[in-house]
């Protein structure tokens, strides 16, 4: 089911949000069921770790529920929800980066060992991917945080430039420019991977 065209027999996002804002908890549950997979995918493409994705997913849902009264309908509900998810995920990876740097520092001092769960997790999910998708994931991981996020929202999640602009809090032009640069980079990385395979 696409975010922009729900089943006509089902209530629209706006109707469900209105009911949830009126105190009907079942209405919010229906929104959770509607968006759980897509939210998981958005978060996972940023965090790349299932356990952490799960935590951020629940944080996102709780935050959305607690702040539902603040949703005025200026943008689509899914845009608003994705914005919370993306912000939470980006905050999470920034925090993880800091913690990892601290862990490496601690390890140098011989305090404890690092267990890179991200790598362990990577092995588990790779089985279901095509060879090209594996290469894409390697190439995507080389992109900067900003570029990876626009590729995630545009190419993977299928959102429009305007929606991405609203989610990231930047203009359409900025989204297009980041996307252009990200595609260029991605193409170069893929060519490098291909060359590496040949040699």
């Amino acid at each position: 089911m696409d975010a922009n065209s729900p089943d006509p027999n089902e209530p629209s996002d706006i109707a469900l949000v209105g009911r949830a804002q009126g105190g009907e908890s079942r209405a919010f549950d229906l929104l959770v069921i509607r968006y759980q997979k897509r939210l998981y995918s958005v978060i996972f493409q940023i965090i790349r770790h299932h356990q952490d994705t799960e935590d951020v997913l629940y944080q996102t849902l709780i935050k959305a529920h607690d702040n539902l009264s603040g949703f005025k309908g200026n943008s689509g509900f899914h845009t608003w929800l994705y914005r919370i998810a993306v912000n939470r995920s980006l905050n999470f990876i920034r925090l993880r980066k800091t913690n990892r740097e601290m862990s490496i520092h601690a390890n140098e001092e011989g305090d404890f060992d690092i267990i890179d769960e991200g790598v362990v997790n990577e092995v588990e999910v790779q089985e279901n991917r095509s060879e090209l998708q594996n290469k894409l994931n390697v190439s995507l991981s080389k992109l900067s945080e900003d570029h990876r996020t626009v590729v995630n929202l545009f190419d993977i999640q299928g959102l429009s430039h305007a929606e991405i602009g609203k989610i990231l809090g930047c203009s359409d032009g900025t989204v297009r420019s980041r996307l252009h640069y990200a595609h260029k980079q991605l193409k170069n990385y893929l060519l490098d991977v291909k060359k590496g395979d040949r040699s």
């Binding site: 959770v32 995918s41 529920h65 912000n87 998708q133 894409l136 893929l190």
Partner: protein, 165 residues
């Protein structure tokens, strides 16, 4: 990279959307969400934790924007202070001119024009535009507070070889 390749890359990219666990996993999400929501409500949060939670998503808590904002504030502060300093300096000059004004006007009217380009005035640090009012401002620090001393302290006309009477 050919068009065919680009198509396959785009297909592969959109295929990454399906990198999610099985439907069985999602059947438990709602229950887990309710459970975590209940637990969060049960745990009493400190004031600091609640404050941090409420401001966590604000734009200025983004580290990059925080740095940009701080830099902008510093630049603004620099220009404000600089502007205030210049304004204070020009006010001081006006005050000095006002303070010296009366006697200097008298001096100008009593001194010959040549006096203004004499060696005595060169010693005060200016040989070009040497109106008495500017000299007063230049020599205020050296001459002290006695206004008449300025005129008396310049090279006496009788000793000055340049100035001829």
């Amino acid at each position: 990279m050919t068009m065919e390749n680009i198509d396959s890359v785009q297909k592969a990219l959109s295929g990454l959307r399906d990198e999610v666990p099985s439907d069985l996993y999602f059947s438990g999400v709602l229950a887990e969400f309710h459970s975590r929501q209940r637990n969060q409500r049960l745990v009493p949060q400190s004031f600091t934790t609640r404050l941090m939670e409420s401001v966590k998503d604000l734009w200025f808590f983004n580290p990059a924007r925080l740095v940009q904002g701080s830099a902008f504030a510093l630049i603004l502060l620099f220009f404000t202070l600089n502007g205030l300093h210049e304004s204070w300096s020009s006010n001081s000059a006006v005050l000095v001119n006002w303070y010296q004004g009366e006697s200097l006007r008298l001096e100008k009217s009593t001194l010959p024009e040549q006096f203004l380009t004499s060696n005595g005035i060169d010693q005060l640090g200016s040989s070009a535009l040497v109106r008495p009012v500017e000299l007063a401002a230049l020599s205020l620090g050296e001459m002290g507070s006695d206004r008449t001393q300025y005129v008396m302290n310049t090279t006496p006309a009788s000793y000055d070889s340049v100035v001829a009477f």
